[in-house]
Structure formats: C-alpha cells, structure tokens
C-alpha cells in the first residue's frame, strides 16, 4: 500500500499582497500592479535587489509557508515548483533589449533572472535547502505535476520532505495577459503563489494529500470525485481555471451535497492558481473534510488533487 503523504504547512500569496484569510477580498476587475519590495523585506528579512517579480512572489510565499511550520525545515528538503508561464517580465525585458530595434545586448542581471528556474533557486537558497530542485513549466497542470512528482518521490522514500509551490505573474496589462492566457471576460487576471510542505510524517499534520491523478478527457469526473469520499464526509470541489461553469453545475447536479469553493474569485486567473487555491484552504482552521481540486489542460485531460483536511 502506498505511503500516505501529509501536509504540514501552507501559505498563499494573492494578487493584492494578501497572505491571510482576513486580507483576502473578492476581485472585481483586474488588480493593480503589485509592488512587493516591502513585503519581501518583511517576510524574507532581506532585500532581493536584483530578483525578478516572479522570484519575489515565490520567495514570499515559500518563506511564509516555512515560517508556519512548527519546526525548521530540514536542509535535505526538496523543492518542486510549478509555473505556467515562468518568467514573463524578465523575458520581455531581455527580448526588448536584444531583438531589433533594440540595442542588441542583454543586461546581465536581466538575463540571469530570466532563467526559468531562478525562482526555485531563490526558494532553496533562502531556506538553505541543498537537495532535489525541479521546475515544471507547461501552462496548465504545472503545479499539479510538481505536486505529483513530490508526492511520488516521498512515497518512494527518495526524499523526506518537500516544499511544493506554484507561482505565476501577470503581464501588467489585461491585453498583454490575454495574449498569453485566455481568460473569460468575467475572469480577472491574477498572480500569486501557493506553497505546501509535505512529508510522510503524520504527526501534527494539517492535511493528507490523498492523490494527484490525471484522467483522460472522457473520464467520468463525478465518479472519480466519489472515489475518495468516506461515508458522511463533506466533499468540496475547487474548480480550476479551465473548468467551465457548466461543468461545475453538472457536477453539483450529479453529486448531491457537493460544496463548491470559488477561490479564483480571490486570486484571479493564472496557470498555477491551483497552488493558491489549495494552500489557501489552510488559511484558517477549517472543518475536516475532503477537498478536490480539478482542472483541465488544453487537450482536455483533467487532473485532480485530492486533499483531506484533518482535525486539528
């Protein structure tokens, strides 16, 4: 039988710099550009002078998550980071510098920070983690795959703890953002990061990660959701970015008693919003129950992330 994997800490950073439930507000329209320098200094304790916006989002979220642990995160903890678009702003900067009619030379700092794994590097460096470090970047399901790889490596005994996150930045204007990520007119653009600390140790765990599962486009989603549910256990669906409202309505009809938690209203639309949604589950004490995140990729395949919130 597969080893269970437990969630020990979580943190979510939203597009208004919100890091706790009391600070979260439903977005009505696109949030203004986020300035993170002050929050970096408060949370991380140092200035990240040359770091990109994406790195700042990852650094704040991951450090908050680590600080919520009851004990320090060991040095051999692995980092798994999902990012749908990776470095957008730094890549745009070097593109303008190098491509015609630009001057043709890249700024060294912009070039270094445009590396798509720099966020995961900073996360490890700030937490003093010298272990496995993987960045998954592929638009939809980037966070889900990062979570899957972490859980699988934990279950296989290859690592003892994992810091798993998802991070994406917006593109400063709705028009620019829409060229990269198709949003419905009623979806505000978003950015942020979400982080979980996982291990196979059950002691003081806040939740259990039951499974990260990919199913084909024609799979019976309602049946899959039922599979994890215990008798008399509440079931809450967290619909991801690419789940249409009609599919949610269909599931509500098919699964009497199903609760739906619209976290996207708090964080806006971005490829790794799933990380925000799952981490924000643990913002405050929440009644035990089963929570399942569902999202689809461009090919229609679905991925589930099933989490059981444990009694405190």
């Amino acid at each position: 039988m597969a080893k269970p994997v437990f969630i020990h800490a979580a943190a979510a950073l939203g597009p208004r710099g919100d890091t706790a439930k009391a600070e979260r507000r439903t977005l009505h329209g696109d949030p203004p550009p986020l300035e993170l320098k002050a929050l970096v200094k408060t949370v991380v304790g140092v200035s990240l002078r040359q770091a990109s916006h994406l790195v700042e989002l990852a650094a704040i979220g991951s450090q908050l998550c680590i600080k919520r642990l009851p004990c320090p995160l060991p040095e051999d903890s692995a980092v798994y980071l999902g990012t749908g678009l990776a470095e957008v702003r730094k890549n745009e900067a070097v593109f303008r510098q190098v491509m015609p009619p630009g001057p043709g030379l890249a700024s060294p700092f912009d070039f270094i920070n445009a590396a798509n794994n720099m966020a995961a590097f900073y996360v490890a460096k700030l937490a003093n983690l010298r272990a496995r470090n993987l960045t998954v970047s592929q638009e939809e399901h980037s966070f889900e795959w990062a979570l899957h790889l972490a859980a699988a490596d934990l279950r296989a005994g290859e690592i003892r703890q994992a810091l798993v996150g998802g991070v994406d930045e917006n593109s400063l204007s709705r028009e620019g953002h829409l060229r990269r990520i198709a949003l419905r007119d009623d979806q505000p653009m978003g950015e942020g990061s979400g982080w979980l600390v996982l291990s196979v140790d059950a002691e003081q765990a806040r939740g259990e990660l039951l499974e990260v599962k990919r199913v084909t486009r024609d799979a019976d989603v309602a049946q899959a959701l039922r599979a994890w549910q215990r008798p008399n256990e509440s079931l809450t669906l967290l619909p991801g970015l690419r789940i249409e409202p009609s599919e949610v309505r269909h599931l509500v009809q098919a699964l009497p008693g199903l609760h739906v938690q619209d976290y996207l209203g708090l964080c806006g639309g971005f490829h790794t919003a799933a990380a925000f949604g799952m981490a924000a589950l643990f913002d405050a004490p929440v009644a035990p129950g089963l929570f399942v995140h569902l999202n689809r990729d461009a090919s229609g395949h679905a991925m589930f992330c099933a989490v059981r919130v444990l009694p405190i």
Partner: protein, 381 residues
C-alpha cells in the same frame, strides 16, 4: 524494481539528422562548429556556434516542433516500434527556454511586414501538448525547465515514472534553438570563448553555444536483460550562487555521490565520465575539484564533448547522452576536442586521444544556472 532500458535515440544537431552522422563526425575529429546564419549579432565575429541545417524544417517556431518529431521518430525506428507504441507513453521535455521560438516568429513577422510587434513569448512547455498530439501520445506530458540540466532531469523523472509503473515507455526530448537573447546574455556575462569551447584547457575562456534536439526512448523492462540502460541518477541544488558553483566542487561531488547511490554503484565502478565541461573558468574548476575529491587517484578517463556539439543548454542532457552513448556503441570514447594544454590548477587532465569504449558504467554530468545539477549513470552493451 524494473530496469530502465534505453531503447532508442534520436538527434538533430549541427552534424545533421541522426545520431549516426554525429558519431561519425566526432569519430573523424570534426567539430560541429558552423557559421551563424539564423540572425545577426553585434558581436557575431567574436563567437563560435553550432547551428543545425534549418532547410529541411518549416520556418519560425514550427521548426522546434518538426525537429522534435524528427528526433522522436528516429528513436522509435531504432526501437523498431511504430507510433502506436507511444500511445500510453509519457512525454517529458527538457528545455531551458522556448524564447528561441518566439524570436523566430518575431523575425519572420518583421521580415514579412516590417512591423516590430513583440509576440506573446512562448513559455517552456508550450509545445509539449502539441508534440504529444502529433506523436499520438496520450500518457503523461510534462516539461522541465531547470536551465542546462533540464533534459537530464527529464531523464531522471522519466525513469522514476517508469519504475513506479506510471507508464511503460517514456519519450524524453531535450530541445534548444539558437537564441539571440541567450547568446547576448552569455556574451554580456563574458562567458563565450571567441575560440570556441576548450574544456579543462589552461586557456579556456568560456562556452560555445549550440542548438540541437535529442530524443531518448526509455522502457521499463527485465533487469536481467542486457543492453543500454539508465542505471540511476540524482539531482541537487547548489545554492552557492545563481551562476557559479561552490568553488570547492562539494555540491557537484554530492550529486555524483547521490547518483552512484541511486544506481547501487561505487565510485570505483565508473569506467568513464562524460563531464559537463563547459570550458568556463568556474565550472571546469569546480568540476575538476569534485572529480578529484570523489575519485581520488582512481579517476577514470573523462571527456568533454561540447566543442563537438556546442553547449546545447537545456537540451544537453538528452543530446549528449545520445551522442556519448552512440560513441560507446561504436566502440570509442571521444577525446576532449578543444583541449590542448593542461591547466595546472585543475590537477587533472581530460582524455586527449580517442580510446576504446570500456565495458563498465559511464557517468554523465550536467550542471546548470540556478545551481541545478544532475548526474546520470548508464550502462551500454
């Protein structure tokens, strides 16, 4: 636990299409250095590159997709499998960035219309689902982007998925195109050697960038069967600095030790090493220190192959595995092209002349920006 068999290899490189032509070029001692014709740069005459022939492929970003397909089909053909064999396979792509594809589309638009309109820059994984669709792959699809260790890590993740039974086969593709942005960035960092890559040489001054696509088809199989196998490997983050290694090589040594442990091997079992060998001062110094510390007086022959192929960045894991394994299959270990004068500070020297392929396991090392390191152990024959 099943063994991970390497069933097929595919390559598009500056030597042409196919692993065989690259191996023959290496055997003949020809480097794959070419003129840069894709675009012009203000410092064009100060660098050496490896550019593949784009004529057989469609222009713009579609070139990346077509080259990935070409490499994948070669790997399938070697395995004597048809496309249906990939239906439930995993596709794992490793690339440092897909900016080269955005650049290509931008240049086309600029040339066709005269308008300089920045396109939405493609994220690393943009092509993955498309390529999966073209190859009929319905299994897991993911893209790793960990700088120059990207496709080495893709091989490790693929092997882990096969061992866990998540797929029976996995196609790993490392892909990288020449990018004006990457060349300009490395030039700004003073990391390009005007004379081309000279791994572990006293006069080395930096890298030589190349473009290539490598495909490796892995399959879970019986551990008692012989043949080429991925024995194990490891990944580690060196948090010393964004772009340079811990100078004493301790992090590089650690990832090699972890890889040996994963493969169930001792340092003394390693018969030959394909070093990362970028030709940069820092990398080669730290890598030499790591090899000295780990292997001591029993350092097996080691070689660097980036002067042949160029440093293909995120693709180098799959590309260099394909070429190095191709050389071993052909019975030889290639000498370190570009190496001429030992650096006394390194206290070790790479292979300067071709030698016969030894029987034992080979270690392949890959070290990237962001301290992302990967080490692989393979068996051949």
């Amino acid at each position: 636990m099943p063994a991970i068999h390497i069933r097929g290899l595919g390559l598009v490189s500056s030597y042409g299409r196919g692993v065989a032509c690259a191996v023959e070029g290496v055997r003949a001692g020809r480097t794959g250095i070419t003129p840069l014709s894709l675009f012009s740069l203000p410092f064009q005459n100060q660098i050496q590159v490896n550019q593949y022939d784009h004529a057989p492929f469609p222009p713009g970003s579609a070139c990346a997709t077509a080259t990935m397909q070409a490499a994948a089909r070669e790997a399938l053909a070697e395995a004597q499998l048809d496309a249906a064999a990939l239906r439930d396979a995993a596709l794992i792509i490793g690339t440092s960035s897909f900016l080269f594809a955005g650049e290509a589309d931008y240049r086309r638009t600029l040339a066709d219309t005269g308008e300089a309109v920045m396109p939405p820059l493609p994220p690393p994984g943009q092509a993955a689902l498309h390529v999966a669709g073209l190859l009929g792959i319905e299994g897991p699809v993911l893209t790793l982007s960990t700088a120059c260790s990207s496709s080495a890590n893709a091989l490790l993740v693929a092997a882990a998925m096969l061992r866990r039974g998540e797929a029976r086969r996995a196609l790993v593709i490392g892909v990288e195109g020449l990018s004006a942005i990457a060349l300009s960035g490395f030039h700004s960092l003073l990391l390009l050697d005007p004379e081309g890559c000279r791994p572990f040489d006293a006069g080395r001054r930096g890298m030589q960038i190349g473009e290539a696509v490598g495909a490796v088809l892995l399959e879970a199989g019986d551990a008692t069967h012989s043949g080429d196998r991925l024995l194990g490997g490891a990944n580690l983050c060196d948090t010393h600095h964004m772009t340079s290694a811990t100078p004493d090589g301790s992090a590089m040594r650690s990832v090699m030790e972890m890889a040996l442990a994963d493969a169930g091997l001792q340092a003394a079992d390693v018969a030959v090493i394909k070093a990362h060998g970028t030709g940069s001062l820092d990398n080669d110094t730290a890598e030499s220190a790591a090899m000295r510390a780990l292997f001591g007086d029993d350092l097996p022959p080691f070689t660097g192959i980036k002067r042949y192929l160029g440093h293909t960045l995120g693709a180098c894991g799959a590309v260099e595995l394909a070429v190095f394994l191709g050389c071993l299959r052909a019975g030889f270990v290639p000498p370190t092209a570009g190496f001429a004068s030992p650096d006394p500070a390194l206290r070790i020297t790479p292979l300067a002349a071709m030698q016969s392929a030894p029987k034992g396991p080979a270690m392949l090392n890959f070290f990237g920006f962001g301290g992302n390191y990967a080490s692989l152990l393979i068996a051949h024959g």
